[in-house]
Assembly symmetry: C2
Homo-oligomer: 327 residues x 2
């Protein structure tokens, strides 16, 4: 049974996971859907009620029924590197590849449907509430009057995009920033705006979930930090990420979130306040983990390799490899 | 409890359903997401574990918690008609609108996740096989050699796109056509190609499923029809669509398909052969039904209105309208 990794060639984080799977003797096929019709070929046959599918990568042939798991890491746009790329060819290649992979019994990290749903911020906030995670008061609105009333109730606000990254080429992350006290919010009418009570934070928390395993890391906010530096991704802080224990109530809520979202992987961002409460900010279903592993030494790549290698019921892979014990 | 219909203003088929809902006294809000930030506004608040959402259309305010059902008919691209449209604004508006609607308990026809998944042809074929529908032998491939071998086993083939419509502006349907006997299939290497055994058909069947209700219509192939006219959408036939009974085995299989696909609506295309077998060609989760209703008189719009108006458990709407009995 083979692990399929969909990602670009330059993805060095994926290299870490591939290395561990190789050490464990678990067969791995790594491909970039951008290479479809050049380095990558596919075929699926439906005859007399039976379906057979194959993938070929650099002349290596893999049966789709032999796929143990699929890791959707950083896949390129299907057929983007074809001799004559086009929107039509990308659509055809995407439907063929993902349509066939959807027919397999492989486990997904993460399934494309779950991944797509999990990107919706309003849905994230609601699921976090329902899962028992503390969510800072939030408003998403195109009504200037609603924004004004919200800012009266919660005078210290941050603003962030509803959707995450700006869809330019390459996509650019839009930072969260503080709302000035004299803002009049008239511009809210021109586009949905996400306003959130600013959590005065002592630390940022990044919790990486891999299946049932949780790895939390904490980055202290420096005492003289500028309160306008609300977005840890853009803050000039030099303090490292340190491993931190996950409070049991948070762990229970995070498991409920992942189960409700049908996600096998998630990178949660929290803000820790002076009372030690972890406030849910977001869960990125494809969040990076390399920087956390580098700072903390937490074995996240190893956990991903184990998850990908394990059987559908979660037991370790009955691999034929002699070095299986490495996992 | 309100029915929300997402579609364009020009959608006359939706008018039929709105008319029936109005007659039954069921509140309806119809909006085009393209009108977001101009005619349409939205707001969602997440405070202390509770979520409240509102939509406003032409100054009419609707609570999202009061939505009974959502009919995704022919919605425009979110914020496409904004004063300054952009890919970024569309993404923000789309995430805000669909993200909030995903938080409601409304029933969907069809849910966006189910709709997206249902467009994958390879997945359709597999689900049809699993549901017990006869599927003509099919190959989807980028291997010329696989195509050649397939054409030796099944010499009479048609070719059609994997993905359906060509993504130009406006999208254009690509007809299914016959494969010439001397085709060498070298070009298959440049893009996934769907080859399918041609079913020598006596009739085309369009089966429209609305919840549990099935409406089948049959269009006879004229005896002197050109066998190269394989695609009913492009055939010059003048024979009308006539109502036809659904064979019990087909009905069971179609219900299994809809349940597996989590679809509340589906338009199935079959080819009927000389033995009376209905061969599954595809299921379009947003297929048109107006032309069938016009020819056959089958009450499809009425069935959609009833489905949208019914409570989550399928019982008719406890509407306050005095003309409820009209449904």
């Amino acid at each position: 049974m083979t692990v399929l990794i969909l990602t670009s060639e330059e993805d060095v984080t994926a290299d870490l996971v591939v290395l561990r799977l190789n050490e464990a003797g678990v067969p791995v096929v790594r491909l970039d859907p951008a290479d479809l019709t050049t380095r990558v070929a596919l075929s699926g046959e439906y005859v007399q009620g039976i379906c057979h599918g194959h993938l070929s990568v650099a002349d290596r042939l893999v049966s789709m029924s032999g796929l143990r798991s699929v890791w959707v890491r950083r896949p390129g746009l299907p057929a983007a590197r074809a001799a004559q790329p086009s929107a039509w060819l990308t659509e055809e290649a995407s439907q063929a590849l993902y349509g066939m992979l959807r027919c397999t019994d492989a486990r997904w990290m993460n399934h494309p449907d779950a991944a797509r749903r999990a990107r919706h911020k309003p849905w994230q906030l609601r699921l976090a509430q329902r899962s028992g995670l503390p969510v800072p008061a939030t408003l998403i609105t195109t009504f200037p009057q609603a924004a004004r009333e919200f800012s009266e109730r919660f005078p210290d606000l941050v603003v962030k995009p509803v959707s995450g990254a700006h869809p330019q080429e390459p996509p650019r992350a839009v930072p969260t920033s503080r709302v000035a006290p004299d803002t009049d919010f008239a511009a809210v009418a021109f586009g949905p705006t996400l306003l959130q009570r600013r959590v005065p934070k002592l630390a940022d928390i990044r919790l990486t979930a891999v299946g049932d395993r949780l790895f939390a890391a904490r980055k202290t906010v420096e005492p003289d930090a500028d309160p306008d530096d609300v977005d840890v991704r853009f803050s000039p802080s030099l303090s490292p990420w340190n491993p931190v224990e996950v409070p049991p109530r948070v762990a229970t809520a995070v498991h409920a979130y992942l189960s409700g979202a049908e996600l096998a992987y998630g990178a949660f961002d929290f803000a820790e306040d002076a009372d030690g409460i972890w406030w849910f900010l977001e869960c990125n279903q494809s969040g990076q983990f390399g920087f956390v592993e580098m700072d903390t030494g937490q074995p996240i790549a190893d956990a991903i390799a184990r998850w990908l290698a394990s059987a559908p019921d979660g037991t370790p892979a009955p691999s034929g490899g002699t070095r299986r014990s490495a996992l």
